[in-house]
Symmetry: C2
Subunit: 129 residues, 2 copies
Amino acid sequence: MSENWLNEVNWSEDGLIPVVTQEASSNLVLMVAWMDRNALKLTIETGKAVYWSRTRKKIWHKGEESGHFQQVKEIYLDCDKDVLLLMVEQVGGIACHTGRHSCFFNKLENKQWAVVAPVIKDPKEIYRK
Amino acid sequence: MSENWLNEVNWSEDGLIPVVTQEASSNLVLMVAWMDRNALKLTIETGKAVYWSRTRKKIWHKGEESGHFQQVKEIYLDCDKDVLLLMVEQVGGIACHTGRHSCFFNKLENKQWAVVAPVIKDPKEIYRK
């Protein structure tokens, strides 16, 4: 099976690409993460978002611990072919490890970062397995 | 004047941060670019998106050649404080250098990248100054 679509991606020198993940139903930007070639292949094969964790240096099946999987609806590549955009359905409505809907909850107000989104579920409850 | 809000940003080793730019009126993700500390300060001071061009290695006042400025409405920082999200009004309705509304116009369909958004204005017309 041809993998031209994978070869067309402009992977960085370290073999990664940044990924913007947007919620299809709300259009909220949920998070930004990274994929390597294998993570993108696994995302296509499983229909769920699979990333590359730069801190843990391994494949990260989003939701494997929390149950908060991301069902992938659409995948886009930008003009320079070096950024991906995933349109997803966020299972459980929580994308952020802090227990919030989106990771972008610090809003700049009067030159201060104000927390503007509530914790939906205590992370201790999410990750107690 | 305190610059705590700038110091709270987790700049990368090379002093940059990735920036997702979303259109406030449509919620479309327009592009992903980078900022250094100065670009973020200039963005706040001018109210228009200013990026750091990694290819040209200099400050990039978005729209200075095309007239397609981005009026910044809101700025968010993510949970790890290493990604920014800009909510903007896209002047001229064209964010992409290809003359399209958004940079994310390559959609994965049957393991092929299909161009799914039209060119609104010929780039030769945009950049002829």
